[in-house]
Amino acid sequence: MAVQVQQQRAGGELANPLAAAKRAATRAERVSAGLDDLDRWLRDQIRSGLHGMDRAGYAHFDSMAARMVDAHAPGVASMLRSIPAEMAGVQWPERVLSQLGSLHLLIQAHRRLDALPADLAATVRSRIGYPVSKSDVLAGPGISDRWFALGMVDTVEFRLETRRVWLFGTTTSRWALWLNFAPPGGQLDASALPGQVLSADLHFYSGSGQYRALIGRRHDTGDDSRQPADQPPVETLSEVQRRYADIVAADPWASRMPAVIEAAPIPSREPGKPWQLRDSSGVACDLVGLVAEPWPLLARSGGAPIRIFGEWNGRGLRALSVLADDQGLPFSTSVVGRAG
């Protein structure tokens, strides 16, 4: 009988390295087999053509997504389930093909995982959905700061609620993304809500272009309700685009990044056309992800540029909050015209 060596992990739980290695190898084999199936499925789609996919709806992707869940690749399943949302409008074939290309790239990267730089390999594992234990992340070095929560998005996918909260380190000027999840009937963690400041150590996940972090030790400074004087830096849209290019170069599957721009909202002038944001240089981008026309945002701006925080996706900004201004107007999430 083999002697199994047990070690005490940082989080206090007992781990058996041999058993863990065996589990990891089994998982990697299952992921590889699942991605081989996905590779064949992708090529089948391209051989037979994407036409009609817009009418096939979610079911067409759900079965392959379920296969990816079975293969322990939940990140890939999530990417597949996001594709039907791209099928509105005349340019859907281009957008869907890009998404399929992104999945293809992930499959190729996984096949060469051992040859990739460590950071990129960690990113590939993260995108596929390899689990990373919280205790391992928390065992890494923490970054202490007063973290200003600037925006939040709640989503539901297959009854699993997900909350992503964007945090900005007021001393380190570092962005962080804090994710938390709630199963059906559960409650999302409200430790950091937009407008609040959290004095804590954040522990970042490994991987290139990685914002995701866990909240570690909290510091009781007694001033967490006070909004920081150090606000996130404002960028022009051209600067945002350049920074996003750097992010995508490090993580080709990155789909969003945080940004603050100073811009004036411009209402849609034709039905079906998007609202826009115009920065001080005259460059304009679309406002994306709106669930209602953002008239309160226009009211707040009075037609003048205001500092807007949101998620940049390469095509436009999903506005999540408006920062406090010099005239005494407060930080606000209610004026951006969307829920969550």
């Binding site: 053509g49 093909l97 685009q241 981008c285």
Partner: protein, 205 residues
Amino acid sequence: MMAMGTWPDVVTTALLGTDRRAVPSELPESWSGLEPSEDAARTVLDLAAQYGTYSRVGTRLGLAGQPPPAPSEELIAAPPEAQELLGSLLEYPDPSLINYWLASCVDRGLRVSAEHWQPLAVLVARNAGYDRSLLGKALGSGGLWFLRQNPSWQGLAADIAVAMSEPEPSNQGVAYSEEVAAWFGEIDAAFAATDQPGMDGSEMP
């Protein structure tokens, strides 16, 4: 980066399927780094992976003209207590209470803050029971500018302009219930800060 004409060709091939349409044969030199494949479907996916990444970071943003700015505001915003009360009244709107709030605001030379412009516009546009003249005065120049930005409120803006040019109707002799009268007292109390000598409205927008 791929020439603009080539990418639509690749998309068309993907749309129709590589069983029916060939992959564009002459690809730009910048695509020469791709591994050659005898599988046309794989070639299309390789091209999509590369171009998709390029297009996500290389979207060319357009220019836009400067939007019309709101005129400078001369009126001071009503105090925070009154704004907060208006927010509550707008949740379960009653014309007599909203009109009384607007009259209280206008009588003191104050205005509604920007956060209430949209809900007031939506409410008043669909109900003739609200006093358009009072609304126009309480919105101030910024609020009237705001109404003009939304084509669906242009009828309301025109009604307000007409109402503001007409003589004010008299409410004398109108009887209100005790409950409504009690709310009037709440509204008076919310504006009371501005009734004291030397006290201005809030710094709210």
